[in-house]
Symmetry: C2
């Protein structure tokens, strides 16, 4: 046995026990006649003491030579600590060392193994195995494990079966780019890595599996934006003989269960909002509802005056910023600069200060009187002391701009408390979205998503207005899950394909395989998938996923620790019958 206890275990109840510990040297303080050493492992830190008078001389001398991150095994007696440390669970005791064995020496690490490290992001990624020794990273990985366990417990108890679907599948031309895998045994042919197990989970429903889930890696060869990974983890689920309500119930239950189990947070029933309302009230299909600042549409009260900018705009819309009336002119100018940044793209911003005395002071006083502005305050819910920020232009762009401003201000005002959890179902997504470039409809979710029963007629008359049985679960302004009820009627599916601009032959070529399976008795079914990396990060109170992934890749898709991808041997290429064509 290498140890009789871990470094997080000993308490005053263990005083006088002879113990064996093993771990890494966190730090040592050498006072000449006395040396204190912090010994660390995954479970905690225990203070060791080497005393010139009580420790054998050779052991004492060895202790003088210990470097940071040395791996040692010690034997000693648990004693009461003179100056107790209430910050750590082992702070009541220390171990008077009688014997020490250096199991491995260590070079000086490239950054300090402390909660607050001096290592930059790049260095930490290159030496990720050292980064993982640090509590903040280690604890995030342990937290991820705990969330995964709870997800599995809940779904398994609900009768879901975790089925492993294959990783070596077939490339499909739709959607994002696939990673492909050349086959040596089938020369000139390729597997593809799954972007999601969508097809397979629907086949499992055809196969009568009834309730399926899987925590599964998915792969997308996209140009990486910040905080995207080429391989990511999904909680993938599908159910048969269900309607939308069944799915919302189960997965609301899952989310509530996880929050209870891993955060101790009890959530009330999740509010629901239509896509249309979310866009109208928050300019965003994944609104953060931890705070208000709902949009007030001002067309009816701000147009038809002499202010041409508003009169020609498709939408005039504002939000009330709590306490914003006290902003200085300079602060407001900075805010205007902020919305005019290319990343936001507004042309300008109108503001109204709602003074404490009930009067208003706006940047458009020339065009609007106090009575007009009072109506603006009413529409945006602004109170005395608030600042109303108003943007205008075409609907989609203006909403997106005001949404960005809303989030930015909430961040500045400290309204986005990471330990508060505000879930929201967004429902009734549009079935289709019009793509101006290709002049055709695209499926907003995917081509198998079912329209709402009452909107099926719209597919003939006004397809763009048809709503889908599609839903997203939003948590604190992040989409953490999304899914839909699938079409299981062949006629409706054909109509959908033709709306999406597929000829019968194209539909057959791309989706024939699944359609063929559907001929043998497909049950009504639907599902949902959660982005697991993001879910865990948000539960952990963070918005970046990278530290919740043990060995992440950088924005160029590289693993800088193992230096992958990398060139391969000519022989390997030859065996695959491939040539580089750079």
């Amino acid at each position: 046995m290498f140890r009789s206890y871990t470094c997080g275990e000993l308490r005053s109840a263990n005083i006088n026990e002879e113990v064996t510990l093993a771990g890494w040297i966190q730090k040592s303080r050498d006072k000449g006649f006395m040396i204190w050493v912090d010994l660390r492992d995954r479970y905690g830190i225990t203070q060791l003491i080497f005393d010139e008078e009580r420790t054998p001389k050779d052991v004492f001398n060895q202790a003088k030579e210990l470097g940071r991150e040395y791996v040692v095994q010690i034997k000693g007696t648990v004693i009461e600590r003179e100056s107790k440390n209430n910050n750590i669970p082992t702070g009541e005791i220390e171990v008077l060392v009688s014997d020490i064995k250096v199991l491995n020496e260590a070079d000086t690490p490239p950054f300090t193994i402390e909660d607050q490290t001096d290592g930059g992001e790049d260095l930490r990624m290159k030496y990720r195995y050292l980064d993982i020794r640090r509590n903040p990273v280690k604890n995030k990985l342990i937290f991820r494990h705990q969330v995964a366990m709870q997800v599995r417990n809940y779904l398994s108890n609900e009768g879901f079966i975790e089925v492993e679907t294959p990783y070596l599948i077939k490339s499909t031309p739709e959607g994002a780019r696939d990673f492909v895998v050349p086959s040596r045994m089938n020369v000139g042919q390729f597997y593809a890595l799954p972007q999601s197990p969508q097809t397979f989970k629907q086949l499992l429903m055809v196969g009568g599996m009834d309730k399926y889930f899987q925590i599964v890696k998915c792969f997308r060869d996209e140009d990486l934006r910040a905080d995207r990974q080429p391989e990511f983890t999904q909680i993938d689920c599908e159910m048969a003989f269900v309607e939308q309500e069944d799915i919302l119930t189960i997965f609301e239950g899952l989310t509530r269960y996880i929050l209870k189990e891993v955060k101790g947070v009890e959530l009330a029933q999740f509010p629901r909002m239509t896509y249309a309302d979310a866009m109208r009230k928050y300019g965003n299909d994944k609104p953060d509802i931890r705070f208000g600042m709902e949009f007030g549409e001002l067309n009816s009260v701000a147009q038809h005056k002499d202010f041409n900018v508003f009169n020609t705009a498709e939408l005039v819309v504002g939000i009330a910023v709590p306490g914003g009336a006290s902003y200085t002119r300079k602060e407001i100018d900075k805010l205007i600069d902020w919305v005019k940044r290319p990343q936001v793209g507004a042309k300008g911003m109108v503001y109204v200060k709602c003074n404490e005395d009930g009067t208003f002071k706006s940047s458009v006083d020339k065009f609007y009187d106090q009575e007009d502005l009072a109506k603006w305050a009413e529409a945006t819910g602004a109170k005395a002391g608030d600042l109303i920020c108003v943007l205008s232009g075409n609907i989609n762009e203006t909403r997106a701009q005001l949404s960005a401003l809303r989030m930015e201000l909430a961040e500045r005002l400290g309204l986005r408390n990471p330990e508060e959890f505000a879930p929201l179902w967004v429902v009734d997504f549009p079935l289709l979205e019009w793509d101006a470039d290709t002049e055709r409809y695209h499926a907003m979710h995917h081509p198998f998503t079912s329209p709402k029963l009452e909107d099926v007629e719209l597919l003939n008359s006004n397809p763009g207005e048809a709503r889908a049985n599609a839903y997203d679960l939003v948590l604190n302004g992040n989409e953490i899950g999304g899914g839909s009820i699938r079409i299981f009627d062949q006629e409706l599916q054909s109509k959908m394909f033709s709306l999406l601009g597929f000829t019968k032959e194209e539909a057959e070529a791309q989706f024939g395989f699944l359609m063929n399976a559907f001929k043998y008795g497909a049950p009504p079914h639907g599902g949902i998938a959660f982005g697991f990396d993001r879910l865990v990060a948000i539960l952990g109170g963070q918005e970046t996923i990278r530290d919740y992934i043990a060995f992440p890749k950088n924005n160029a898709g590289r693993d800088v620790m193992i230096d992958a991808p990398a060139p391969i041997d000519d022989d390997q290429l030859k065996e695959l019958c491939l040539k580089l064509d750079v």
Copy 2:
């Protein structure tokens, strides 16, 4: 709600209830005035009854048109069944149908959806989604899920953290062939899919994760033998600050726990056997110890007589076949033919019948008298009524041949009861094996496997004799897990590399990355990996893994259901800067 109950739920307590069920038509019996229909879902079968007198006419007529595998939803009243069926849990009741809705029609399936199907292997694989509707396949997938859940519960309770390691890693020239994944963003470079997370789990130990596990897909581009898959699942584990004994204890516990939880089988402490003993007693490093038939070495009692075949053999070895004395001459000749098949490769077989009267009759009576043969019986443990089969030749080949014969006879004698579980630790594997072709040593487990402390000196004097801290867990003659304590001392590791014939530069190029990590304080560590597909199959009482995999590939590495791998678009190749070179 599509259903108020599943098809496996209703009991006599539900009689008189109005219920809604949904599922597939298993079969229907039309007696003219009365139609019985079996409705099936994942949970069971419920009998529906349509009665000309009690069922609405239109519903009755619809019932006449129902085809096999139609998907329907019915409403009706639970009534007591006249002729109860004790074979199914719902056999006390039936549902008198008042309304029916055909949710989906179905083409006639290409094989019958019955426990005993008329579909051959190929057809079943092509229509795997229909095959999964059959109980034997469905139940195996559910069983797999249950085993996975128990594995996670046990390991998580023992303090192990499941950490997801990356799938897009780097190709290494050692071992089996990697599947590679061309990178579009890093032109001319490739990721590789992991053959196992070996490097990453060792890095997690360097990172202080202490106890790691993962149920994880692994990939090997090998020419497929029967019952091998290019992607397979492993329970991968690693622990720090442990010795071999700690690992055996934990994973013996895991195996015992699973058997208890999923099979209700309580196992005693697992026996242990050295590799040398396993080879000597069973000619095999994964002996099936559900039955005896241990080898008896006969060199001392069979050599130095006039029988030259034995005198010139390196090994003369026999087994006692229970009751084999009653075999006819013809049966014995067939057995001799069997061992002479090229797959076994023996040149011949000597036999001794141990007659009930205590006398012996052998095929070599010319050379051996009764007293000689009595010694053979003693050495092989043969009793009156047994048959002793004796092979001879060089040690390794002869052992392998006799092992094959032992397994074949046990199979014929019904000694390999799939519901009996006989685990065995095989320990003290050789560290190195000599490869006559390349005239160098290979690592029997892998180059990081630690030699036994007491055998370290042998690395200088007689490396082939050094034993490793390596162990396999064998269950019913199958290796279900294997692992080792790793080297964590840099000097010992260098010696190991040089024994394996690596120059310092080669070792650096191939393993430098992990060795570099080891410089920063590597703890003593070791681990094990279980083949999950095989484990589940054996627990399920089967020896083929394919039905325990939802969507397996065939022996050519093809998924015949989705027809993968497949050619990809020229555009895709171009983006990857690759050309086919067929």
